[in-house]
Protein backbone atom coordinates (compact mmCIF):
# COMPACT_ATOMS: atom_id res chain seq x y z
CA UNK A 1 0.00 0.00 0.00
CA UNK A 2 2.05 2.89 -1.25
CA UNK A 3 0.05 5.45 0.65
CA UNK A 4 1.26 3.90 3.85
CA UNK A 5 4.84 3.40 2.90
CA UNK A 6 7.51 3.50 5.53
CA UNK A 7 8.18 7.21 5.34
CA UNK A 8 4.59 8.15 6.10
CA UNK A 9 4.42 5.63 8.95
CA UNK A 10 7.71 6.96 10.35
CA UNK A 11 6.23 10.43 10.55
CA UNK A 12 3.06 9.09 12.13
CA UNK A 13 4.95 7.09 14.74
CA UNK A 14 7.49 9.79 15.49
CA UNK A 15 6.09 13.07 14.26
CA UNK A 16 8.55 15.92 13.98
CA UNK A 17 7.79 18.97 16.13
CA UNK A 18 5.06 17.30 18.14
CA UNK A 19 4.12 19.20 21.26
CA UNK A 20 3.15 22.68 22.42
CA UNK A 21 4.98 25.98 22.64
CA UNK A 22 4.21 27.87 25.82
CA UNK A 23 3.73 31.56 25.07
CA UNK A 24 3.42 30.94 21.37
CA UNK A 25 2.80 33.96 19.17
CA UNK A 26 0.10 32.15 17.26
CA UNK A 27 -2.13 29.21 18.17
CA UNK A 28 -4.26 27.88 15.34
CA UNK A 29 -6.80 25.07 15.67
CA UNK A 30 -7.99 23.29 12.59
CA UNK A 31 -10.34 20.35 12.44
CA UNK A 32 -12.03 18.19 9.91
CA UNK A 33 -15.16 17.36 11.90
CA UNK A 34 -16.41 15.01 9.21
CA UNK A 35 -13.73 12.48 9.96
CA UNK A 36 -12.33 13.38 13.36
CA UNK A 37 -8.95 14.78 12.33
CA UNK A 38 -7.89 17.77 14.38
CA UNK A 39 -4.68 19.68 14.76
CA UNK A 40 -3.40 22.66 16.75
CA UNK A 41 -0.40 24.65 15.53
CA UNK A 42 1.81 26.56 17.96
CA UNK A 43 3.98 29.13 16.19
CA UNK A 44 6.80 31.36 17.40
CA UNK A 45 7.64 34.20 15.04
CA UNK A 46 10.94 36.01 14.66
CA UNK A 47 11.39 39.55 16.01
CA UNK A 48 10.10 41.13 12.79
CA UNK A 49 7.06 38.88 12.96
CA UNK A 50 7.76 38.01 9.35
CA UNK A 51 9.21 34.51 9.60
CA UNK A 52 8.53 31.35 11.57
CA UNK A 53 11.20 30.69 14.14
CA UNK A 54 9.63 27.64 15.68
CA UNK A 55 6.57 25.51 15.11
CA UNK A 56 5.00 22.64 16.96
CA UNK A 57 1.74 20.85 16.67
CA UNK A 58 -0.57 18.60 18.66
CA UNK A 59 -3.68 16.75 17.60
CA UNK A 60 -5.30 13.49 16.82
CA UNK A 61 -5.98 12.28 13.37
CA UNK A 62 -5.29 9.78 10.69
CA UNK A 63 -1.77 8.84 9.67
CA UNK A 64 -1.95 11.07 6.59
CA UNK A 65 -2.90 14.21 8.49
CA UNK A 66 -0.27 13.63 11.18
CA UNK A 67 2.43 12.78 8.63
CA UNK A 68 1.51 15.83 6.60
CA UNK A 69 1.73 18.06 9.67
CA UNK A 70 5.05 16.54 10.61
CA UNK A 71 6.56 16.95 7.14
CA UNK A 72 5.17 20.45 6.61
CA UNK A 73 6.35 21.66 10.00
CA UNK A 74 9.91 20.62 9.17
CA UNK A 75 9.62 22.27 5.80
CA UNK A 76 8.46 25.71 6.92
CA UNK A 77 10.80 26.39 9.81
CA UNK A 78 12.63 29.68 9.31
CA UNK A 79 10.66 30.49 6.19
CA UNK A 80 8.88 33.81 5.89
CA UNK A 81 5.15 34.09 6.34
CA UNK A 82 4.96 35.41 2.81
CA UNK A 83 6.66 32.33 1.34
CA UNK A 84 4.51 30.03 3.45
CA UNK A 85 1.33 31.68 2.24
CA UNK A 86 2.25 30.58 -1.27
CA UNK A 87 2.47 26.86 -0.49
CA UNK A 88 -0.10 25.02 -2.60
CA UNK A 89 -1.92 21.73 -2.27
CA UNK A 90 0.24 20.37 -5.06
CA UNK A 91 3.35 21.24 -3.04
CA UNK A 92 1.96 19.31 -0.08
CA UNK A 93 1.22 16.28 -2.21
CA UNK A 94 4.76 16.37 -3.55
CA UNK A 95 6.18 16.58 -0.04
CA UNK A 96 4.14 13.51 0.89
CA UNK A 97 5.58 11.55 -1.99
CA UNK A 98 2.86 12.20 -4.52
CA UNK A 99 0.43 9.37 -3.93
CA UNK A 100 -2.59 10.72 -2.10
CA UNK A 101 -5.94 9.31 -3.21
CA UNK A 102 -8.72 11.90 -3.76
CA UNK A 103 -10.63 10.64 -0.72
CA UNK A 104 -7.64 11.43 1.51
CA UNK A 105 -6.73 14.88 0.17
CA UNK A 106 -8.64 16.59 2.95
CA UNK A 107 -6.50 14.73 5.47
CA UNK A 108 -3.29 15.74 3.74
CA UNK A 109 -4.35 19.37 3.50
CA UNK A 110 -5.46 19.80 7.11
CA UNK A 111 -2.19 21.36 8.30
CA UNK A 112 -2.06 23.49 5.16
CA UNK A 113 -5.53 24.85 5.95
CA UNK A 114 -4.23 25.75 9.39
CA UNK A 115 -1.17 27.50 7.95
CA UNK A 116 -3.38 29.51 5.63
CA UNK A 117 -4.99 31.05 8.66
CA UNK A 118 -1.79 32.68 9.82
CA UNK A 119 -2.31 36.40 10.32
CA UNK A 120 0.56 38.52 11.59
Amino acid sequence: MDLYREEILEHWQNPQNFGEIKKADLVIEQANPLCGDEITLFIKLDDNRSAIRDIRFTGSGCAISIASASILSENIKNKTVSVISKITGTDVIKLLGGQIAPARLKCAFLPLEALRRIRV
Binding site: M1, Y4, Q13, L34, G36, T58, S60, R104
Partner: protein, 436 residues
Amino acid sequence: MDFRKLRADFPILNRRVNGKPLVYLDNAATSQKPQQVLAAMDEYYRRHNANVHRGIHTLSVEATEMYESARNNVATFVGANDPSEIVFVRNATEAINLVAYSWGRLNISKGDEIVLTIAEHHSNFVVWQQLAAENGAILKIIPILDNGELDYLAFKKALTKKTKLVTFFHVSNVLGTINDVCNLTSIIHNLSPKAKILVDGAQAVPHMPVDVSRLGCDLYVFTGHKMLGPTGVGVLWGKRELLESMSPFLFGGEMISKVSVEKTTWNELPWKFEAGTPNIAGVIGLSAAVDYLSKIGVENVRKHEIELTNYALERLSKISEVTVYGSSRGASSGSTQGRSSNNRSGVISFNIGPIHAHDVASILDSEGIAVRSGHHCAQPLVDFLGVSSIARASFYIYNTKEDIDRLVEGILKVKKTFHLESKIIRQNSKIQLKSV
Protein backbone atom coordinates in the same frame (compact mmCIF):
# COMPACT_ATOMS: atom_id res chain seq x y z
CA MET B 1 -32.51 -20.88 3.13
CA ASP B 2 -29.25 -20.39 1.31
CA PHE B 3 -28.50 -16.71 1.42
CA ARG B 4 -25.55 -17.20 -0.91
CA LYS B 5 -28.00 -17.82 -3.75
CA LEU B 6 -29.42 -14.33 -3.23
CA ARG B 7 -26.14 -12.81 -4.29
CA ALA B 8 -26.97 -13.59 -7.92
CA ASP B 9 -29.80 -11.05 -7.67
CA PHE B 10 -27.34 -8.24 -6.92
CA PRO B 11 -25.32 -7.29 -10.01
CA ILE B 12 -23.07 -4.89 -8.13
CA LEU B 13 -21.58 -7.71 -6.08
CA ASN B 14 -19.70 -8.77 -9.19
CA ARG B 15 -17.65 -5.63 -9.13
CA ARG B 16 -13.99 -5.61 -8.42
CA VAL B 17 -12.50 -2.84 -6.33
CA ASN B 18 -8.74 -2.20 -6.46
CA GLY B 19 -8.38 -5.51 -8.25
CA LYS B 20 -10.19 -7.50 -5.57
CA PRO B 21 -13.79 -8.77 -5.44
CA LEU B 22 -15.99 -6.26 -3.64
CA VAL B 23 -16.88 -7.08 -0.05
CA TYR B 24 -19.66 -4.67 0.78
CA LEU B 25 -19.94 -4.12 4.53
CA ASP B 26 -21.49 -0.67 4.63
CA ASN B 27 -25.16 -1.64 4.72
CA ALA B 28 -25.99 0.64 7.61
CA ALA B 29 -25.14 3.50 5.26
CA THR B 30 -27.08 2.09 2.35
CA SER B 31 -28.03 -1.31 0.95
CA GLN B 32 -27.49 -2.72 -2.51
CA LYS B 33 -30.49 -3.25 -4.78
CA PRO B 34 -31.68 -6.56 -6.26
CA GLN B 35 -32.52 -6.95 -9.93
CA GLN B 36 -36.19 -7.18 -9.02
CA VAL B 37 -36.25 -3.67 -7.56
CA LEU B 38 -34.34 -2.19 -10.49
CA ALA B 39 -36.65 -3.95 -12.96
CA ALA B 40 -39.79 -2.69 -11.21
CA MET B 41 -38.68 0.93 -11.47
CA ASP B 42 -37.52 0.47 -15.03
CA GLU B 43 -40.83 -1.14 -15.98
CA TYR B 44 -42.74 1.73 -14.45
CA TYR B 45 -40.85 4.27 -16.52
CA ARG B 46 -41.01 2.18 -19.68
CA ARG B 47 -44.69 1.27 -19.59
CA HIS B 48 -46.70 3.06 -16.94
CA ASN B 49 -45.21 6.47 -16.39
CA ALA B 50 -47.70 9.27 -15.80
CA ASN B 51 -48.47 11.66 -13.01
CA VAL B 52 -50.57 10.26 -10.21
CA HIS B 53 -53.88 11.29 -8.70
CA ARG B 54 -54.75 13.61 -11.56
CA GLY B 55 -56.11 12.85 -14.93
CA ILE B 56 -58.57 10.42 -16.27
CA HIS B 57 -56.40 8.85 -18.92
CA THR B 58 -55.33 5.24 -18.71
CA LEU B 59 -51.65 5.73 -17.96
CA SER B 60 -52.48 8.04 -15.10
CA VAL B 61 -54.92 5.52 -13.67
CA GLU B 62 -52.29 2.78 -13.94
CA ALA B 63 -49.62 4.89 -12.27
CA THR B 64 -51.98 5.86 -9.46
CA GLU B 65 -52.95 2.24 -8.96
CA MET B 66 -49.32 1.20 -8.70
CA TYR B 67 -48.46 4.03 -6.35
CA GLU B 68 -51.35 3.38 -3.98
CA SER B 69 -50.84 -0.40 -4.09
CA ALA B 70 -47.30 0.29 -3.02
CA ARG B 71 -48.65 2.19 -0.07
CA ASN B 72 -50.89 -0.73 0.91
CA ASN B 73 -47.98 -3.09 0.56
CA VAL B 74 -45.72 -1.02 2.79
CA ALA B 75 -48.53 -0.60 5.34
CA THR B 76 -49.04 -4.35 5.61
CA PHE B 77 -45.31 -4.97 5.80
CA VAL B 78 -44.91 -2.89 8.95
CA GLY B 79 -48.23 -3.82 10.54
CA ALA B 80 -50.03 -0.50 10.03
CA ASN B 81 -53.78 -0.85 10.48
CA ASP B 82 -54.58 1.54 7.72
CA PRO B 83 -52.66 2.63 4.61
CA SER B 84 -53.66 6.22 5.23
CA GLU B 85 -51.26 6.12 8.19
CA ILE B 86 -48.34 5.68 5.76
CA VAL B 87 -46.88 8.95 4.46
CA PHE B 88 -44.23 8.81 1.75
CA VAL B 89 -41.41 11.31 2.13
CA ARG B 90 -37.85 11.54 0.86
CA ASN B 91 -36.09 9.63 3.67
CA ALA B 92 -36.18 9.09 7.43
CA THR B 93 -34.56 12.48 8.01
CA GLU B 94 -37.38 14.21 6.18
CA ALA B 95 -39.94 12.14 8.08
CA ILE B 96 -38.53 13.34 11.40
CA ASN B 97 -38.39 16.92 10.17
CA LEU B 98 -42.04 16.59 9.14
CA VAL B 99 -42.96 15.65 12.69
CA ALA B 100 -40.93 18.54 14.10
CA TYR B 101 -42.41 20.99 11.68
CA SER B 102 -46.02 19.84 11.67
CA TRP B 103 -46.37 18.83 15.27
CA GLY B 104 -43.34 19.67 17.40
CA ARG B 105 -43.12 23.31 16.47
CA LEU B 106 -46.69 23.97 17.54
CA ASN B 107 -46.95 21.66 20.54
CA ILE B 108 -43.63 21.93 22.32
CA SER B 109 -43.21 25.24 24.10
CA LYS B 110 -41.02 26.94 26.65
CA GLY B 111 -40.29 24.73 29.63
CA ASP B 112 -41.58 21.58 27.95
CA GLU B 113 -39.26 18.60 27.88
CA ILE B 114 -37.96 16.44 25.06
CA VAL B 115 -36.31 13.14 26.00
CA LEU B 116 -33.90 11.42 23.64
CA THR B 117 -30.68 9.39 23.81
CA ILE B 118 -27.01 10.25 23.35
CA ALA B 119 -26.87 7.68 20.56
CA GLU B 120 -29.39 9.24 18.20
CA HIS B 121 -28.52 9.73 14.55
CA HIS B 122 -28.10 13.42 13.75
CA SER B 123 -31.47 13.35 11.97
CA ASN B 124 -33.13 12.58 15.29
CA PHE B 125 -30.85 14.72 17.41
CA VAL B 126 -30.20 17.98 15.60
CA VAL B 127 -33.89 18.44 14.73
CA TRP B 128 -34.95 18.34 18.38
CA GLN B 129 -31.92 20.25 19.57
CA GLN B 130 -32.82 23.10 17.24
CA LEU B 131 -36.51 23.00 18.06
CA ALA B 132 -35.71 23.11 21.77
CA ALA B 133 -33.40 26.09 21.24
CA GLU B 134 -36.03 27.93 19.22
CA ASN B 135 -38.97 27.25 21.51
CA GLY B 136 -37.17 27.30 24.84
CA ALA B 137 -37.83 23.64 25.53
CA ILE B 138 -35.49 21.43 27.55
CA LEU B 139 -33.55 18.58 25.98
CA LYS B 140 -32.95 15.59 28.27
CA ILE B 141 -30.33 13.26 26.89
CA ILE B 142 -30.21 9.66 28.17
CA PRO B 143 -26.77 8.03 28.27
CA ILE B 144 -25.80 4.60 27.02
CA LEU B 145 -24.11 2.10 29.31
CA ASP B 146 -20.83 0.35 28.59
CA ASN B 147 -22.61 -2.65 27.17
CA GLY B 148 -24.42 -0.48 24.62
CA GLU B 149 -27.76 -0.65 26.42
CA LEU B 150 -29.86 2.37 27.28
CA ASP B 151 -29.48 3.58 30.87
CA TYR B 152 -32.95 2.60 32.05
CA LEU B 153 -32.56 4.32 35.41
CA ALA B 154 -31.68 7.61 33.80
CA PHE B 155 -34.49 7.11 31.29
CA LYS B 156 -37.13 6.66 33.99
CA LYS B 157 -35.78 9.60 35.95
CA ALA B 158 -36.03 11.81 32.88
CA LEU B 159 -39.75 11.26 32.36
CA THR B 160 -41.92 13.88 34.03
CA LYS B 161 -45.24 15.65 33.68
CA LYS B 162 -43.54 18.16 31.43
CA THR B 163 -42.35 15.58 28.91
CA LYS B 164 -43.96 16.36 25.57
CA LEU B 165 -41.93 14.10 23.30
CA VAL B 166 -39.84 11.00 23.83
CA THR B 167 -37.84 9.82 20.86
CA PHE B 168 -35.25 7.07 20.46
CA PHE B 169 -33.67 4.67 18.01
CA HIS B 170 -35.12 1.21 17.49
CA VAL B 171 -31.67 -0.04 16.43
CA SER B 172 -28.47 2.00 16.86
CA ASN B 173 -26.51 2.58 13.65
CA VAL B 174 -23.26 2.63 15.60
CA LEU B 175 -23.62 0.20 18.49
CA GLY B 176 -26.08 -2.24 16.96
CA THR B 177 -28.09 -2.03 20.17
CA ILE B 178 -31.70 -3.13 19.74
CA ASN B 179 -34.00 -1.20 22.07
CA ASP B 180 -36.91 -3.06 23.61
CA VAL B 181 -39.42 -0.61 22.21
CA CYS B 182 -42.50 -2.19 23.81
CA ASN B 183 -40.87 -2.02 27.21
CA LEU B 184 -39.81 1.59 26.74
CA THR B 185 -43.20 2.74 25.50
CA SER B 186 -45.01 1.12 28.38
CA ILE B 187 -42.66 2.87 30.81
CA ILE B 188 -43.42 6.16 29.08
CA HIS B 189 -47.19 5.54 29.17
CA ASN B 190 -46.84 5.03 32.90
CA LEU B 191 -44.63 7.96 33.79
CA SER B 192 -45.47 10.51 31.09
CA PRO B 193 -48.82 9.49 29.65
CA LYS B 194 -49.24 12.74 27.75
CA ALA B 195 -45.95 12.47 25.88
CA LYS B 196 -45.87 11.54 22.24
CA ILE B 197 -43.40 8.83 21.21
CA LEU B 198 -41.41 8.84 17.99
CA VAL B 199 -39.25 5.83 17.14
CA ASP B 200 -36.46 5.90 14.55
CA GLY B 201 -36.68 2.57 12.75
CA ALA B 202 -34.23 3.24 9.91
CA GLN B 203 -31.88 0.45 11.05
CA ALA B 204 -34.69 -1.87 12.20
CA VAL B 205 -37.24 -2.32 9.40
CA PRO B 206 -34.67 -3.66 6.89
CA HIS B 207 -33.36 -6.27 9.32
CA MET B 208 -36.13 -7.60 11.55
CA PRO B 209 -39.92 -7.95 11.71
CA VAL B 210 -41.53 -4.70 12.88
CA ASP B 211 -45.18 -4.28 13.83
CA VAL B 212 -45.89 -0.60 14.45
CA SER B 213 -49.38 -1.31 15.77
CA ARG B 214 -47.89 -3.31 18.63
CA LEU B 215 -44.93 -1.15 19.59
CA GLY B 216 -46.90 1.41 21.58
CA CYS B 217 -45.40 4.43 19.83
CA ASP B 218 -47.25 7.24 18.07
CA LEU B 219 -44.88 7.79 15.18
CA TYR B 220 -42.32 5.60 13.44
CA VAL B 221 -39.91 6.41 10.62
CA PHE B 222 -37.84 4.35 8.20
CA THR B 223 -36.23 4.70 4.81
CA GLY B 224 -36.24 2.80 1.52
CA HIS B 225 -32.59 2.85 0.53
CA LYS B 226 -31.48 0.89 3.61
CA MET B 227 -33.92 -1.92 2.85
CA LEU B 228 -32.99 -2.82 -0.74
CA GLY B 229 -35.09 0.06 -2.09
CA PRO B 230 -33.97 3.11 -4.06
CA THR B 231 -32.82 6.38 -2.56
CA GLY B 232 -35.33 9.22 -2.37
CA VAL B 233 -38.16 7.41 -0.60
CA GLY B 234 -38.83 7.19 3.11
CA VAL B 235 -41.84 6.54 5.29
CA LEU B 236 -43.51 8.21 8.22
CA TRP B 237 -46.06 6.03 9.98
CA GLY B 238 -48.30 7.77 12.51
CA LYS B 239 -51.44 6.97 14.45
CA ARG B 240 -54.35 8.22 12.42
CA GLU B 241 -55.72 10.48 15.14
CA LEU B 242 -52.40 12.19 15.60
CA LEU B 243 -51.78 12.71 11.88
CA GLU B 244 -55.30 14.13 11.51
CA SER B 245 -54.52 16.71 14.17
CA MET B 246 -51.23 17.80 12.60
CA SER B 247 -50.98 20.74 10.24
CA PRO B 248 -49.46 20.14 6.80
CA PHE B 249 -45.71 20.08 6.21
CA LEU B 250 -45.19 21.29 2.66
CA PHE B 251 -47.84 23.17 0.76
CA GLY B 252 -48.76 22.88 -2.87
CA GLY B 253 -50.59 20.58 -5.21
CA GLU B 254 -51.91 17.17 -4.17
CA MET B 255 -52.18 18.07 -0.48
CA ILE B 256 -55.14 20.37 -1.06
CA SER B 257 -58.85 19.79 -1.35
CA LYS B 258 -60.23 23.14 -2.44
CA VAL B 259 -58.21 26.25 -3.28
CA SER B 260 -59.71 29.67 -3.74
CA VAL B 261 -58.23 33.09 -3.68
CA GLU B 262 -59.25 33.56 -0.06
CA LYS B 263 -58.43 30.22 1.46
CA THR B 264 -57.53 26.57 1.00
CA THR B 265 -58.70 23.34 2.59
CA TRP B 266 -56.53 20.27 2.99
CA ASN B 267 -56.74 16.85 1.45
CA GLU B 268 -57.38 13.80 3.58
CA LEU B 269 -54.73 11.54 5.03
CA PRO B 270 -52.18 10.62 3.89
CA TRP B 271 -52.13 13.02 0.93
CA LYS B 272 -52.32 16.03 3.22
CA PHE B 273 -48.62 15.38 3.83
CA GLU B 274 -47.57 14.57 0.26
CA ALA B 275 -47.28 17.86 -1.60
CA GLY B 276 -46.30 17.97 -5.25
CA THR B 277 -45.48 15.12 -7.57
CA PRO B 278 -44.11 12.29 -5.44
CA ASN B 279 -41.16 10.01 -6.15
CA ILE B 280 -43.47 7.58 -7.93
CA ALA B 281 -40.74 5.32 -9.29
CA GLY B 282 -39.05 5.32 -5.90
CA VAL B 283 -42.21 4.27 -4.10
CA ILE B 284 -42.74 1.50 -6.62
CA GLY B 285 -39.12 0.43 -6.08
CA LEU B 286 -39.71 0.37 -2.33
CA SER B 287 -42.74 -1.83 -2.82
CA ALA B 288 -40.67 -4.24 -4.90
CA ALA B 289 -38.10 -4.27 -2.09
CA VAL B 290 -40.86 -5.10 0.39
CA ASP B 291 -41.92 -8.00 -1.85
CA TYR B 292 -38.33 -9.24 -2.02
CA LEU B 293 -37.91 -9.13 1.75
CA SER B 294 -41.30 -10.71 2.35
CA LYS B 295 -40.39 -13.56 0.07
CA ILE B 296 -37.27 -14.30 2.11
CA GLY B 297 -39.11 -13.64 5.36
CA VAL B 298 -37.76 -10.86 7.55
CA GLU B 299 -37.43 -13.25 10.47
CA ASN B 300 -35.02 -15.24 8.29
CA VAL B 301 -33.08 -12.09 7.51
CA ARG B 302 -32.70 -11.59 11.24
CA LYS B 303 -31.53 -15.17 11.80
CA HIS B 304 -28.98 -14.85 9.03
CA GLU B 305 -27.60 -11.65 10.55
CA ILE B 306 -27.44 -13.13 14.04
CA GLU B 307 -25.28 -15.91 12.61
CA LEU B 308 -23.00 -13.50 10.78
CA THR B 309 -22.72 -11.15 13.74
CA ASN B 310 -21.88 -13.93 16.17
CA TYR B 311 -19.26 -15.24 13.77
CA ALA B 312 -17.76 -11.79 13.31
CA LEU B 313 -17.69 -11.04 17.04
CA GLU B 314 -16.06 -14.40 17.67
CA ARG B 315 -13.34 -13.80 15.09
CA LEU B 316 -12.75 -10.20 16.15
CA SER B 317 -12.47 -11.13 19.81
CA LYS B 318 -9.38 -13.17 18.94
CA ILE B 319 -7.51 -10.25 17.41
CA SER B 320 -5.55 -8.28 19.96
CA GLU B 321 -5.83 -4.49 19.74
CA VAL B 322 -9.37 -4.64 18.30
CA THR B 323 -11.93 -2.83 20.44
CA VAL B 324 -15.59 -3.47 19.66
CA TYR B 325 -18.13 -0.92 20.90
CA GLY B 326 -21.52 -1.79 22.31
CA SER B 327 -22.33 -5.20 23.69
CA SER B 328 -19.27 -7.45 23.47
CA ARG B 329 -17.13 -4.45 24.13
CA GLY B 330 -13.86 -5.36 25.79
CA ALA B 331 -13.20 -8.05 23.23
CA SER B 332 -9.61 -6.91 22.98
CA SER B 333 -9.06 -7.54 26.67
CA GLY B 334 -10.09 -11.12 26.19
CA SER B 335 -13.46 -10.68 27.89
CA THR B 336 -16.09 -13.22 26.96
CA GLN B 337 -19.05 -11.15 28.06
CA GLY B 338 -21.92 -10.33 25.81
CA ARG B 339 -20.78 -12.48 22.92
CA SER B 340 -24.33 -13.47 22.04
CA SER B 341 -26.02 -11.11 19.68
CA ASN B 342 -29.70 -11.53 20.35
CA ASN B 343 -29.81 -7.98 21.55
CA ARG B 344 -27.57 -6.78 18.78
CA SER B 345 -28.10 -6.09 15.09
CA GLY B 346 -25.54 -6.73 12.36
CA VAL B 347 -23.63 -3.51 13.00
CA ILE B 348 -20.15 -3.77 14.48
CA SER B 349 -18.24 -0.61 15.26
CA PHE B 350 -14.63 -1.03 16.18
CA ASN B 351 -11.20 0.51 16.45
CA ILE B 352 -7.76 -1.06 16.06
CA GLY B 353 -5.31 0.13 18.68
CA PRO B 354 -4.28 3.71 18.14
CA ILE B 355 -4.87 3.58 14.39
CA HIS B 356 -7.33 6.16 13.09
CA ALA B 357 -10.48 4.68 11.61
CA HIS B 358 -9.81 6.55 8.38
CA ASP B 359 -6.58 4.66 7.90
CA VAL B 360 -8.35 1.39 8.70
CA ALA B 361 -11.00 2.12 6.07
CA SER B 362 -8.36 3.11 3.51
CA ILE B 363 -6.38 -0.08 3.90
CA LEU B 364 -9.52 -2.21 3.89
CA ASP B 365 -10.59 -0.40 0.72
CA SER B 366 -7.30 -1.37 -0.90
CA GLU B 367 -8.42 -4.95 -0.31
CA GLY B 368 -11.84 -4.35 -1.89
CA ILE B 369 -13.61 -4.13 1.47
CA ALA B 370 -16.13 -1.32 2.03
CA VAL B 371 -16.60 -0.17 5.61
CA ARG B 372 -17.42 3.25 6.95
CA SER B 373 -15.24 5.40 9.18
CA GLY B 374 -15.83 8.58 11.08
CA HIS B 375 -18.67 9.53 13.36
CA HIS B 376 -21.53 7.87 11.47
CA CYS B 377 -23.83 10.87 11.85
CA ALA B 378 -23.65 10.43 15.60
CA GLN B 379 -21.05 12.90 16.83
CA PRO B 380 -22.55 13.15 20.34
CA LEU B 381 -22.24 9.38 20.71
CA VAL B 382 -18.69 9.18 19.37
CA ASP B 383 -17.70 11.97 21.77
CA PHE B 384 -19.46 10.15 24.58
CA LEU B 385 -17.45 7.01 23.80
CA GLY B 386 -14.32 9.11 24.16
CA VAL B 387 -12.89 8.59 20.71
CA SER B 388 -12.46 10.76 17.66
CA SER B 389 -13.60 8.28 15.06
CA ILE B 390 -14.77 4.71 14.62
CA ALA B 391 -14.72 2.10 11.86
CA ARG B 392 -17.95 0.25 11.20
CA ALA B 393 -18.84 -2.97 9.39
CA SER B 394 -22.53 -3.67 8.85
CA PHE B 395 -24.17 -6.73 7.33
CA TYR B 396 -27.17 -7.56 5.21
CA ILE B 397 -28.75 -10.50 3.40
CA TYR B 398 -26.06 -10.94 0.74
CA ASN B 399 -23.11 -11.00 3.16
CA THR B 400 -21.47 -14.31 3.97
CA LYS B 401 -18.98 -15.78 6.40
CA GLU B 402 -16.41 -15.47 3.65
CA ASP B 403 -16.98 -11.70 3.67
CA ILE B 404 -16.21 -11.70 7.37
CA ASP B 405 -13.08 -13.78 6.80
CA ARG B 406 -11.94 -11.18 4.25
CA LEU B 407 -12.65 -8.43 6.79
CA VAL B 408 -10.54 -10.20 9.38
CA GLU B 409 -7.69 -10.65 6.89
CA GLY B 410 -7.97 -6.97 6.08
CA ILE B 411 -7.77 -6.04 9.76
CA LEU B 412 -4.66 -8.16 10.15
CA LYS B 413 -3.18 -6.33 7.17
CA VAL B 414 -3.96 -3.00 8.85
CA LYS B 415 -2.14 -4.15 11.97
CA LYS B 416 0.81 -5.35 9.92
CA THR B 417 1.03 -2.11 7.93
CA PHE B 418 1.19 -0.12 11.13
CA HIS B 419 3.62 -2.52 12.81
CA LEU B 420 1.14 -2.84 15.60
CA GLU B 421 3.25 -5.37 17.43
CA SER B 422 6.17 -3.02 17.92
CA LYS B 423 6.75 -1.25 21.20
CA ILE B 424 7.02 2.15 19.58
CA ILE B 425 3.28 2.18 18.89
CA ARG B 426 2.34 2.10 22.53
CA GLN B 427 4.35 5.19 23.16
CA ASN B 428 2.60 7.01 20.40
CA SER B 429 -0.85 6.10 21.68
CA LYS B 430 -0.64 9.50 23.30
CA ILE B 431 -0.93 11.09 19.88
CA GLN B 432 -4.37 9.67 19.44
CA LEU B 433 -5.79 11.10 22.65
CA LYS B 434 -8.21 13.90 22.02
CA SER B 435 -7.12 16.36 24.65
CA VAL B 436 -3.53 17.33 25.28
